[in-house]
Symmetry: C4
Subunit: 282 residues, 4 copies
């Protein structure tokens, strides 16, 4: 098993090019947040914007629009259950995240169906939280997009049928191949299954054990994948950085909240971008 | 009367365990905030999240959902007067706080009845503010849960019938036993009645005499009780820390607002966790 | 004309007493903020809370409740045009501010009538902005409360009929006596007319020339009057401190926003409270 | 082509006059933000307020009012599609910004028509984003106001019909004269076409390539034009300062968000105002 280390991630976060514009850094749509769980998608979207995605749009219940704009005026929004708007919005996107705070009711399933019907092979789909449950339990159209899934252990059991106690790297790897996806398996030392490789996160701590951390990670993954050309590097870097910031904050905080993590993303990415793989500070 | 001191509280706030996850730190439901008093429950919930509770949900009037998510995307919410949703939400909780900004009308009484009917003996109920009034004046079902009550002097009179001028430690203690509850009696030097013991807070100052401080304390108590195994230590630590932060802030602020207190919880807990009972800085 | 100086204001801001509680620092109701001008009453209320008022309630259009709670969970609210709720809320208050963002339409006039009918001689009424216009142009019941008015030069002309170019201290003083009010006449060097005395503010600068500054001052005046026993000292101190903070901020900011001023109130009051009149730092 | 340099901009940002009041610094109306794109107009308005405009009002969809007031209580608002309110509000304004988040539907076109019919030759109109599209594609009344347009390369093509690859300074300049406007052509090195002059921005970096940056610039331009007498200096200064702050932030941030830029405006303007053109620090 490979280790995701600081040195490697420093080489993954490359400097931005001089003549780039916001389109260079990708368009991301985040889909989630029913009327009771709007905070989840707000955290995801905030993480995505702070990670440097070019343009971020959020499909969420209209009751969440005021809170979203209040925290994050950088994002656009659309009403979650307006499937027609959703469909035409998906068209122009590079990355779509579905799941944070989505719920598991019929309306959520209809949203999932619209996403699966509309998304195509040049787009990347990140499945998180409730969307993993719906992926398994709803009768969805075949998926054409590239897939990244971010289950915790219980969701991984839902996806694979393998009880938590029986899950090990080898069996997981086999299931990942059947799923034909990149899998970010969240645990105290998160594992990334990327094609034939397995990577273990070397950062993270129990001060991060609090609600919303997974939503935050999903948003970071989307933001990194949208802007960095090398998809594997993007996934590994976002997983590591999320935990690395948590470790830094935990030196002074008993608990580190998702919003604390999010605020630190731009500065932390900068410190990583200053190094390249072979030598130290440039 | 025992004194709650810094040294003791340092021994109560223990380091988090390595392989823990958010479930380890408890699920808390906060119930309150009618359409005029949403700020109260937002303060309670914020205090609870910043104290390190694993997962926090807020049952409050829908008109408060936008403000709640705007300040605290880490929390989930549900509509306060939807008794069916409330009932099924209570089921999975470790700690339930009822009262901040709840009001005293019939709808509030119906909420209380639902909580009393649903909650069971393995759960902890924190009663604050208006809920104390309703506890006395409404015809509620017998309560199965463990009870923590956080009255100020006037609410203690309502609970016990003892006029403020006649309240003393001995009489209070007797009334506490009749009530069969942990009582946090809020005054300039707050007293905690815990089974056979009485503890006096040694921190606190008049810069904290401002609206919302009690709501904040209720949220902290819930957050501490949810995550620390030793309930007595959790209550004493939260009472002390709330005032300790207030004392630290009052060195530089003429008035210390609840939101100021809340922001300081994660860092202050960390400084306390660095010490253990016998020796100084580890 | 007397000068309001730093030394004097240091003697006006006294330390809080040890056994005080939030009731000691007064109850303030702020009335204003129609559906287009909610920001004004939010600024007033924030200034009032940060000044140390014990308990702050805001009567404003319901469309402003979410933004109010989002910025200031410390405040309670009620719907501006529910005259019955307004009437019963006024009863328990020490100070009532009317005007910021109130508008001048019939509904605003009805609110004013309710305030004038309900308020009694032991309460203090602060009239600001649109309420000054309504005070002059509406047929209101006789006012029993003590009155503080905070006009700018144009509003003072509306109140007195004296053209701006003819306004001078002597004529102003005569008009103040006819009005039977404390008058805070806002200009580049604000003047306070208090009974037989006239005080000139010695602080303030053009970086403060921006929307919402007057609303902020009205909230500070209410907060100070609510908590300090000596009303004259309270008015003079709030007028000075508002400008003093502006001066401090203007050393580093080209424009100082009301929200910047508000944030600095608790710390600035503390530095003033550390001094007493005769000697320096205690 | 002239260069916009730090030295020049330091001479453009002059100290405020002693006896000024908020009216001295202009009244600005910002028009935009439909129900899906409220963040854009919130960013514009925030930039405008932080730039020092005297009084700022925002015509936006009512669903955005809560988020606007929550982030920026300094601004007033009115409902975007109430054309009668819009018309009477335009009357008292010095500068009107139309476009951020406006959308391109019929309702947006009706808003544009109302602005074009109402605005007169003594007012300044800033056209941004969707308003540029509507300016070209809708049958609007002749415009009497002075015009500032802020297109990016694609919008400039829409305005002029010139393909991006054929755009050069000479051809652009000719098109600018036909348009009879000040043009801020946004690109990695932004160009300002002002009458017979062309100015090139010397600041800016790819960390600023993120959604909402253009909305922020439009708000800054409006704020500067409203308060500074010399219109050319105001436009050049706002374009430069927007990028200069971005450069300062990018020293420590991998991506710089619009809200980060906005927060730094008051302090950065102050550092510029401390210098005058001939000598260094005054």
């Amino acid at each position: 098993m490979n280790k995701i280390t600081k040195r490697k991630v420093e080489s993954f976060i490359t400097e931005r090019k001089k003549d780039s514009y916001k389109g260079t850094y990708g368009r991301v749509l985040l889909v989630g947040g029913n009327e009771n769980m709007g905070g989840a998608i707000i955290l995801s979207a905030s993480a995505c914007v702070h990670s440097g995605a070019g343009l971020v749009t959020v499909a969420t219940d209209p009751s969440n629009h005021a809170a979203l704009h209040s925290r994050l005026p950088e994002a656009m929004c659309l009403p979650l259950y307006d499937l027609q708007q959703l469909e035409s919005m998906i068209d122009g996107m590079d990355v779509i995240v579905v799941g944070p705070g989505l719920g598991r009711d019929q309306r959520a399933a209809d949203v999932m169906k619209t996403v699966y019907e509309t998304i195509d092979e040049e787009q990347i789909l990140v499945l998180d939280g409730d969307a993993i449950h719906l992926h398994v339990n709803e009768n969805l159209p075949p998926l054409k997009a590239e897939l990244i899934v971010t289950p915790h252990l219980g969701e991984w059991r839902t996806l694979t049928g393998v009880p938590i106690d029986d899950q090990d790297v080898e069996l997981n790897h086999q299931k990942v191949k059947e799923l034909n996806a990149v899998v970010v398996l969240k645990k105290s030392r998160t594992e990334v299954y990327y094609e034939d490789e397995v990577w273990e996160n070397t950062a993270g701590n129990p001060a991060m054990a609090t609600g919303g951390m997974g939503d935050t990670l999903a948003g970071m993954i989307a933001g990194f994948v949208a802007q960095f050309e090398h998809k594997k590097h993007a996934v590994l870097a976002s997983v590591y950085l999320h935990s690395y910031i948590g470790d830094e904050l935990a030196r002074h905080q008993y608990v580190t909240l998702p919003t604390h993590i999010i605020e630190q993303i731009p500065e932390t990415m900068k410190t990583f971008a200053k190094y390249d793989s072979g030598k130290r500070f440039v």
